[in-house]
Symmetry: C2
Subunit: 335 residues, 2 copies
């Protein structure tokens, strides 16, 4: 078995408990709506990190199963709402919950998800601390989503959004954004494992550093794949970020640094309008003409190194090896 599928098998362990808590207390007619999102698949990376972090920190991963299931549900909870906000029709090649059942029902499903998460956390050892941890993470995710919307260069007409729109972002603002929208949940995952293992604060901090750098690398590679991935492998439409007017893509930002005035304006104009497939390809070609791809990959590789170094002090274990391999797999998935 490859290590990727080994990681998937570990993360998958939460599925029965996640499903059980998700449908608990729901009416028969509501259950299909609730199950739609989690049955759409996913790599189960977050629960794998929780379980492995717990074990690598010297804890018994069996005690981390509830919070691991909660972390996977939080991820799906945010996807449900992302699709409402972005009017998403497809995800992982399947119709989204809102596309099948409508926005109102998808929204209600999200409310129910949050309570399943709450019950899972309440069931966990160290529940008090875990409640604080995940509330913090969801608050950051929410702010990340707010910033992500403001990074869009067109497509929304609300006054608040057009007034606050971020049109000339710095790299550090981008890092702030992806730390919130992506890394925060990986930080919480790694940290949750350490908390259940009752690890000392400095160990928890090291896991936090692992999650942070893993999350940043993950998002930068995701941005890469959005523009240069293979559609069938990536499971998402290529150039979706351009189509959705998102300036919050590392490669677009890096390319804009390099392009001359004329080409920079051209790329920005493609982002600002409802572009055709041809224009999107043109935008991708412009990015290709710069060193953005190389720089993004170097940046992500550097972050993976930092993530691995952060947990290097741990005694050798199977779990530690898998956490290192998980970090490596983030960058490897692009080639």
């Amino acid at each position: 078995m490859s290590n990727t599928s080994k990681l998937f098998e570990i993360g998958k362990k939460v599925d029965p408990i996640m499903t059980k808590y998700l449908i608990e207390g729901a009416s028969e007619d509501f259950k299909p709506i609730l199950l739609h999102q989690i049955e759409a698949g996913g790599k189960r990376i977050r629960p794998a990190i929780v379980l492995l972090s717990c074990e690598a920190a010297g804890g018994n991963p069996e005690w981390a199963i509830w919070v691991a299931a909660a972390l996977e549900l939080i991820h799906n909870y945010t996807l449900l709402y992302d699709d409402i906000i972005d009017r998403g029709e497809l995800r992982r090649g399947k119709k989204t919950t809102r596309a099948v059942y409508g926005d109102a029902m998808a929204l209600l499903a999200g409310l129910h998800y949050r309570e399943a998460i709450n019950k899972l956390i309440n069931r966990s050892p160290a529940s008090y601390k875990l409640h604080e941890l995940i509330s913090q993470a969801i608050i950051e995710l929410t702010e990340g989503e707010r910033l992500d919307i403001l990074f869009e260069q067109a497509g929304r007409t609300e006054n608040y959004i057009t007034e606050k729109r971020i049109t000339t972002p710095s790299w550090s603002l981008y890092l702030d954004l992806i730390q919130k929208k992506t890394a925060s949940l990986l930080i919480a995952s790694a940290r949750a494992g350490a908390i259940v293992a009752d690890a000392p604060p400095e160990v928890e901090e090291s896991f936090s550093k692992y999650g942070l750098n893993l999350g940043i690398a993950f998002q930068v590679i995701d941005d890469y794949l959005d523009l240069f991935g293979k559609e069938e492998k990536f499971g998402k439409e290529i150039g979706k970020d351009i189509k959705e007017h998102k300036l919050s893509n590392a490669l677009i930002l890096l390319a804009l640094e390099e392009l001359d005035y004329k080409n920079k304006e051209k790329l920005l104009s493609i982002l600002r309008k409802e572009s055709s497939a041809e224009e999107i390809s043109e935008g991708i070609e412009l990015i290709k003409s710069t060193k953005a791809r190389e720089r993004a990959i170097n940046f992500a590789e550097e972050r993976v190194k930092i993530a691995k170094t952060a947990i290097n002090f741990l005694p050798d274990s199977n779990a530690k090896t898998l956490l290192n391999e998980l970090a490596d797999s983030v960058v490897k998935r692009e080639v």
Copy 2:
């Protein structure tokens, strides 16, 4: 000071702590969006019930302040989402959060509300039990909202909704609906006070009964006021339920029981289409021609009696007197 304003003063005590937890961890640009909903006013009934129940059960209400604030935030959390689902523009005479900031930002605000609630509960004594209590209540509220949508006779095109629509509801199905959409949060409020007071299970059960019957009475009177209230006093548009095609109004259901075939079909047809103000008045007249008003008020008064009887065993106290008066005020607000 009248007892209504005394109750309001008690409920208002949570405002500073509610605001503090709500904006904690939020960026400056997000705060106005978060504050909009709670600054729109409200009678603060739920926190008043929490604080009074705690005191009437022999506890110190100072210890119930966090969960009281949480209950008021839960109420506002559901209003935020109700307005998204019903495309509401006005509430309590003010523009809704979604009307000012758009659906996407209102949705993100809701996510943040839920975490403020979580932190408030975590801060409370008996937090483990309170987490379970409020998750249960929110799950019921969500199911209540789902049923409420299915009680609508027109206005939504999603397949799921048109297929599952409830066109011939029974009174018991209506009671199930309002128990979930309205009473569940009043049950949780009364129960939360008893939990913080560390009251024995049978006392908690009595408070639950108080909340249930109060909630049912409250919703039936709300349905009455929707059709026969005075706009400026009620703070809502008259006939909104008819306009929104809602068959989930006690008075409409009671009237339908009495009307002859022709008038029954007429009232239903008004509910099923986009009706003019004139047609809405015509519908109200049809309801007026039956004994629905009288029956609804009798029903609500009966429920208020049951609510008061449920807590009658408690030793006399100022808090008990106010809980009784709060119950009475629910029916009194109609005259």
